[in-house]
Amino acid sequence: MSMINYASREINCKIVYYGPGLCGKTTNLEYVYEKVSPNTRGKLISLATETERTLFFDFLPVDLGAIRGFKTRFHLYTVPGQVYYNASRKLILKGVDGVVFVGDSQVERLDANIESMHNLYENLAEYGLDPREIPFVIQYNKRDLPNISSLEELQRELNPHGAPHHEAVAMRGIGVFDTLKAVSKLVIKSLS
């Protein structure tokens, strides 16, 4: 639900990073936080447990600056990945404009990816949304690890509808900005 505020001349768009536990959603945001210039981004807010697992969400606002007189900003959120935090995940999806699904490429996490993708479809459906109709990008993370599924297998299992996808190693920043660029452009297009 992008909000166009003609009074303060602001456009705010909400992008949510979704995916199974420990797939690298927070790592994506941390890398963005580290790399973009401090005058472009706000504070990184993390509501995490003592063991640094996301409890509710991480939040990072990124400013595009003034575009045609409108201060344009992306609000990046992550959801908690663990299965039992579904109530929180649902809340974070409220008003979402674009979704990044971060998949964990490791073979043993394939089922967790599939479960999380189903969960995403279900939770979006509660808001009347369908990933096939909204800005949606898939990131296959941890491509540097030895025991990973092939890209073909991941595509077959997680991306039958052919959403744009990117391979990534979020810990080293590989693919992080390609993903963010892809989803933010789709979100911007959806405003027109």
Partner: protein, 167 residues
């Protein structure tokens, strides 16, 4: 491609009406500052003393706070908690639902009382609800929701490339 969800827009005249209402409320209630935050965590407007904190982060947390409490309400068989109160040593905050779409956050200190805030919030919520209901039905009636002017998308895409391109 369809937009992510029903969008809404907020115009200068909406802002002026809302600002008048909030200013009058702050004066009557002797509160320091009022923020309107939409349920997705975006700041709509502020009135009164300028917040010294990061209002963008504050808005996302306030919306999350309210949403989490909504879920707690439903677990105990309530449809909602229409207001929340957080008490601090010097500063306190009172959050109230407006038309199920927006949250009014009032910051106040010991120059006023919770009772006074509570009484005055009731009236201001009614007035704001009228405006927001009107505003949302206007957005819903618009055939394709708010639109940006031509050239916006190209310019924004260039900016995205420039900002995120070499990182």
């Amino acid at each position: 491609m369809a937009a992510g969800a029903s969008s809404w827009s907020f115009e200068e005249r909406d802002f002026q009406r809302i600002d008048r209402i909030l200013q009058a409320f702050l004066f009557d209630a002797n509160a320091r500052c009022a923020l309107l935050v939409d349920r997705t965590g975006q700041l709509v407007t502020t009135a009164g003393e300028r917040p010294e904190f990061d209002s963008v982060a504050f808005s996302s947390l306030a919306a999350a706070d309210f949403s989490a409490n909504d879920q707690l309400a439903s677990m105990i068989g309530e449809t909602e908690f229409s207001s929340l109160f957080h008490q601090g040593e010097k500063e306190s905050m009172y959050l109230a639902d407006v038309a199920r779409r927006v949250i009014l956050v009032v910051l106040f200190d010991n120059r006023t009382t919770l009772g006074m805030i509570r009484i005055k919030v009731k009236g201001v919520v009614r007035e704001l609800a009228e405006i927001f209901n009107e505003l949302f039905s206007r957005s819903a009636a618009a055939p394709s929701g708010p639109r940006v002017e031509s050239g916006f998308v190209d310019e924004a895409e260039d900016e995205i490339d420039r900002l995120f391109g070499d990182l």
